[in-house]
Subunit: 341 residues, 6 copies
């Protein structure tokens, strides 16, 4: 049988009760073989795509059916949606393995809405405006490191709090870099709002502040912490990488990398969470560390609130659900008649 391209994916967050679906591929997040009260078997499934999760059920199931369902893999199904306890569930009437190539893996892992390569190009363009030659050389060592860059372009910015999607770290970093150029000068510091603050150090600090997340998180199938991430953490990881790259610059120039410069840059990364409670072993103690901490937070917090609003878009309430990192619900009513949101 020819494996034909599956029809366009019907996303979970678009579904309504009462839909008939055919040839739809989902990620199998969980499967269970259960006994009904009159002794028959049924399979309980949790299906997923990048927009959410969906409960599925297969009545009158068999052990063979159960075994052919790939746990953590992709399944092609036919069936209909119902409302159950106020949420949708999907009653599966037919199923088969989902052949590779018949679906787009990008439909199943949440991912930035922006073009990753284009964003990376923009990041590079901003970094190129750094004037200090050794700082620029250090940044170039990172940009030349294919392993880091590969991760940097794919990693989420966090597991749950903000920019929690493939490309999120890049999107967040680009946003803060752009914000920094708005505040400290587009191409150089001639029109900086705070001329006493080193634009070069701020840009370098923003670029590196979360770069350790490429080692702290896994992001191929789902977003979790690596053992390295849990044992060492992205903040210390970045400090170690700066040390390695500074050694590389020293090798290239034949001069020791300036100790003060390395220390300040490391300090900006170490202190960017702002408080000990949030895992920073140092508090911001120079102008640039203060700047990076607040710009990073401004962007991350607005993204958290925007995500909360987006997730709650269709609800009647003027408020989102409780957003844990903000310690509050978010008021989402458009009191200004803004056209965009």
């Amino acid at each position: 049988m020819a494996t034909t391209k599956a029809p366009e994916h019907r996303f979970i967050d678009q579904m309504q009760p009462g839909e008939q679906l055919a040839d739809q591929v989902f990620l199998v997040c969980k499967k269970d073989l259960r006994t009904t009260t009159n002794g028959g078997l049924y399979i309980h499934l949790v299906l997923g795509d990048r927009t959410g999760q969906l409960l599925g059920r297969i009545w009158n199931a068999s052990q063979q059916q159960y075994e052919m369902i790939p746990d953590g893999g992709f399944l092609c199904v036919r069936g209909r949606t119902e409302s159950y306890k106020g949420a949708l569930q999907f009653i599966v009437d037919g199923l088969r393995a989902a052949d590779k190539g018949t679906f787009d893996i990008g439909d199943y892992i949440p991912r930035t809405k922006h073009d990753i390569d284009k964003m990376w190009t923009e990041v590079l363009a901003i970094l190129r405006t750094i004037k200090h030659p050794l700082l620029l050389a250090l940044i170039k060592e990172f940009v030349k490191d294919e392993g880091i860059v590969e991760g940097f372009k794919r990693a989420p910015a966090a597991v749950t709090n903000h920019h929690a999607y493939v490309g999120g770290l890049l999107e967040h970093t680009l946003s803060v870099l752009t914000l920094a150029t708005r505040v400290f000068g587009k191409n150089d510091d001639s029109d900086s709002h705070y001329p006493e603050v080193s634009r070069d150090l701020v840009l370098a600090g923003v670029f590196l502040h979360d770069i350790g997340k490429t080692a702290e998180l896994t992001y191929d199938t789902n977003f979790t912490y690596t053992s390295a991430g849990q044992l060492v953490g992205h903040i210390t990881q970045a400090a170690i990488w700066i040390d390695r790259k500074a050694a590389d610059v020293a090798d290239a120039t034949g001069q020791p990398f300036p100790e003060d410069l390395q220390n300040v840059l490391t300090h900006i990364v170490l202190s960017h969470h702002g408080t000990y409670e949030f895992g920073s072993p140092r508090l911001p103690a120079c102008l640039e560390a203060i700047a990076v901490h607040y710009l990073d937070n401004l962007d991350a917090r607005l993204n958290m609130a925007l995500s909360a609003i987006e997730d709650a878009r269709n609800a009647d309430s003027d408020w989102t659900e409780y957003a844990r990192p903000l310690e509050t619900k978010v008021f989402k009513k458009n009191v200004m008649g803004l056209p965009k949101k």
Copy 2:
């Protein structure tokens, strides 16, 4: 005797040991008549100008001399500087009342380095870019209130932490307003970095966030809290004023001021300290409240660090003294070879 203009004021932070000074006017911060160990009298003084304080002593003093020194007023003195316990002290050899008009009161109270009227004009220009008619009308009610505007142009932004000088509130507010236009658009939101955030609400919120400080602080002779400031606080004061001005707008338009709009604007002010511990009775719970909180903090914290650096400019150390609101010393070494600081 004709009262001639005193010679240019010799500022306390410029003085060196061993200077001979004549016809110098100082603010008398404290005076004391004391007995020396061999039974004579001397007067212990604390003299001040806008750059700091100076210990003064008058040996072989008399009760009459003591009584003619105006406590909290201005005194014209002649004498010489010495080093005492690592700090300067001033040995007074002659003194007389300081005639009004012979000195510039601006030399004695710390004051913004910028032109107050020019800054106010810039604030008005930014506020005029608010598009929402009722919000603009509300802001105009504040701008029309001479008592508030008079205070707004003179008040410090805080007693000690940041912008603690005459005109500091205005300087800080203008800086955050300008910062807001860099982030959310110069004249309108067409080039905002965050188009989902209402530029109008951010600008109005920034303008009003600390306006209650005009009632919370006194700032004619020194900076302290008023009774109203201690009992009610600038945050609640601003909420009350917004209510009054909204009523004024309603009177003018014949329509009740939109409740949601007043609530959101009040919320931005109430929550701008960011945490309960810092006296905010609400946590930021809308996009604009988050934006105002972080922009305000970015500007205030950078100003704290810059002040710490400025106060410590001549010291040998690479670090300032401990800056309490930052919970750290500030590293002030110019590791980037910046020309400006």
Copy 3:
């Protein structure tokens, strides 16, 4: 068909397994149409009255039945009770719309056990003993405000913590007012336990301390926060109302309301939660603010503990469930042989 009065309501907290009920009206808190494992339909309900909630099920249901059940409205049912997972559930055998007038809405929302009008009369009697004419005039402005008084008589004192029922705010306020007269004098301060404390200010502060809750909470169908409540909060709301009423007094007398008096009264309200963590933007800083804070807490905490004991009355244990606001379980064993509890 004549709508006859339904039989006396059988309250949920009185029900036992195995009861047959007919013509019983319940509030429909939630409804769900579900598929049974063999393909039939059933309806899952959550029914409520003022004493609690009850799970209901309708087997062999139809879509039409499902649609005629009013979500958030009242339903008249016939059926029987069962024990399910240690809790009751109700198997519905018949149902019809509940005609207005056939049931008492007061059976469905929890409500003070006391007579609301009688309590309000007592509050007024106590307030009339305030001697200071301007303070009394200010209080009268509140008493004349029908919107506020209407809310004051119906609002709960809190969403969950204490006095969480219709009339709870009034009951709590009356209790603290009475407590205050016990401590500071029944009719005047001639037999006050603390003559240095202004009885007038304490009484006014107690009356107003939670009055903002009338705007902070909704309490017609269930108890939740309004948008105004979440954005502004009852504490700031009361400060704004005091400002408005003081203006009304000033209009009436032709004299500005004394600023200090308004500030102190506002301070008592602002600080009555006692700590920043609990949302007070000021800490109690005058005798009367200290008095109101502790009397309010004494009454609220005892009510929390009493509610915990009441809710747990039939259980075997000597302890109630964990009472979150008290951070502990409550010991309810009668070790003293008290007859009342």
Copy 4:
């Protein structure tokens, strides 16, 4: 030489600059022999009475003079007062030992303004209204313990925070007991504001809550912690004493003291500080523990504020100094025209 009665003591808080004093007795808090800058000797003294401390100086002193001054004892002096650094100092012109009997020791240690025996009689009268025979028997064991009662009548309620004077513990305990009878009934619980709360347990708990302070503090010469106080603390001390007295009751009745009753009473004492941070190993978990905690705090906090106001009586400001236990200054302006304070 006949020792005649010294003239009435001139209290330190009454002194003005420029007074001539003779035959005045002071407590010597500190003495120092120092060299003047031209080689002579002088003695630096800190003199005290129950109203405060005073700096003293003896010019042209000798070693013999220095040695005859009793450190921690009483000295009779002649001399004059001066203003020094805004505070008074006393220049001693003559001195001799203060003969016992020529001065009243009560002038030198701060002490309750009330009659100690009269207060104790009132405490006993209230305790006698306890109805529960075993609880009453337990209380009687404490009342019969002369060592405890002796301490109870003299101990301060705290080293610095509140009621920090001889008799302060008794004064505070009586005040809270009286407060408790106002709330829970004068002679029995027939007119209690909270009939569900055991009046007997509240009274017993109030009586015992701070009784361990008699062992925790010394209060003969000054107020400090004993070693037992620092190692064990008054809260655990009271728990141990309750255990001993319960054993005494059991001995007397031949019946074991009811375990639950001892546990609840102990719990009230253990939890009366209200939070772990303040040294309570338990949080209030029964009605009576809640009642004792809030009544105790109401009385202690009002006393702190009143002491702050009293200490600051003559100052110009409307505010007292910062009162550390209240975490604020206290507003002391009489906005109500109260005649008493």
Copy 5:
């Protein structure tokens, strides 16, 4: 029918899906009679043994069957295991009462792996090395108290955190005592690592630090707090017992027990949690209190981590589940190639 010995107990943590079991006895933790969707009855059970809990179901059940199942007692069942929602469930095909004597109660309550009497003998051997005669006498009073010793040999060290099994308190105490002899000397202090620290006081303090848990916890059927435990707590309980035993020593010797010694020993117990937040009313303030606090914590925390590792032994992950008292997951990968774990 002869009741024969049941076959060896099949422990819950060993079971796999698809097992057939007969004549197996379990503790009945919960039972429920429920209606299936087609009107039949089934019984929902929670069965337990010392290794965990298991969901059970009896299809086509009757009311009689339901009633014969002993709630909180032991049931003998026949049936088969299934996988349900990723966990096992047990389908009961037959059941009867479990005759006493046919099963070992030790299989149903978690219990130390070590021999209780052997551990107790070791504890006694270590305590006998205490040299100070009065301290030794005090300890002997505890050892002679059969009620305490009985509890001490059976109590868990905590309800959930560490050593939460019968004999856990004894196991933990012995471990810390042994640790103490490693640090402070095996038989005396001649080879102590810290000769300034009293080995006697450390040993006595370790023995008594948690002894109050014998009164704080129940541990016959499950592990919960007693009323005494919740009202008074094990820390204060131990202080009271020390007071009683010191009185017993005094009776025996005819000399008052040295107050300082009792205070220091009591202090070690009171302060062993180390912070107020963890319920210690005192902070460690002598060398021995510091030593006991850290040795106790070292042992308890390692036990928590080891338990977390043991509970997670078969999982794929390198990390255990989140261990609440450690505020982290535990890394359990054997990076050193250790043979033992």
Copy 6:
């Protein structure tokens, strides 16, 4: 004039009032030229040695004298001691430069009482018992690094809290290493108290836990933080060094250093402060991290308490001064009749 060896140094903590001293060398911590009240000059000095500081005065001084006194250097003086404000002061009658070689620099900086080289030998002996070849190789890279070892042998363990003297880091590390061998086995883990814990990892972790302090602190003239110390901190510094040394091992073996092993070792160092508040970016999450944290604290806290006791040795009180890091005074009374302390 021949510079002869100065007489034995008279240490500041041994001095009594009324001593005549000659040819005594002190460190000049501070110098000041001041005017006496009758116009003459005197010099105010702070002199120091390793046991403390002493106020000095030179009456009838000249500018020349003042200038010849080396600030921060060594001065040879003659004079006498006096009591001033309860503290000693030293009246200088003669002074001259202190010739190098005439005094022992070790008398002026506090220093461990133990032999540094002997302690280092003991450390090496313990480290040699590490069995894991790569871990041993990594440790050897540190031992081969002369810069680190030089610092390790001289650095204090902290600026003020504990082991604050030259050699303190080495002394503390050796003490914890020895402690670790007592707990985890003398030569190998065959007699470990916790066989599940890797003795090798604990030893390596203890050795490295504070090694970053060699870069964090300066300790030649006094103990302060370096810029690197304040910007980066000893914890991150150690993580960076481990990364470098692991790279060195990889270079030597031609194999990448095992990532897990490096991560776990780094984790032990990162988490050894135990909480975020104390600057650890990770919480202890493996057995060895828990062990290192508690052994480190046990040793450091006992040292703090012992130092407090030693500093307070001659006082009358049973208590030391308040020891800030312990948040308490320390009880130092010998209640056990111990001969040693």
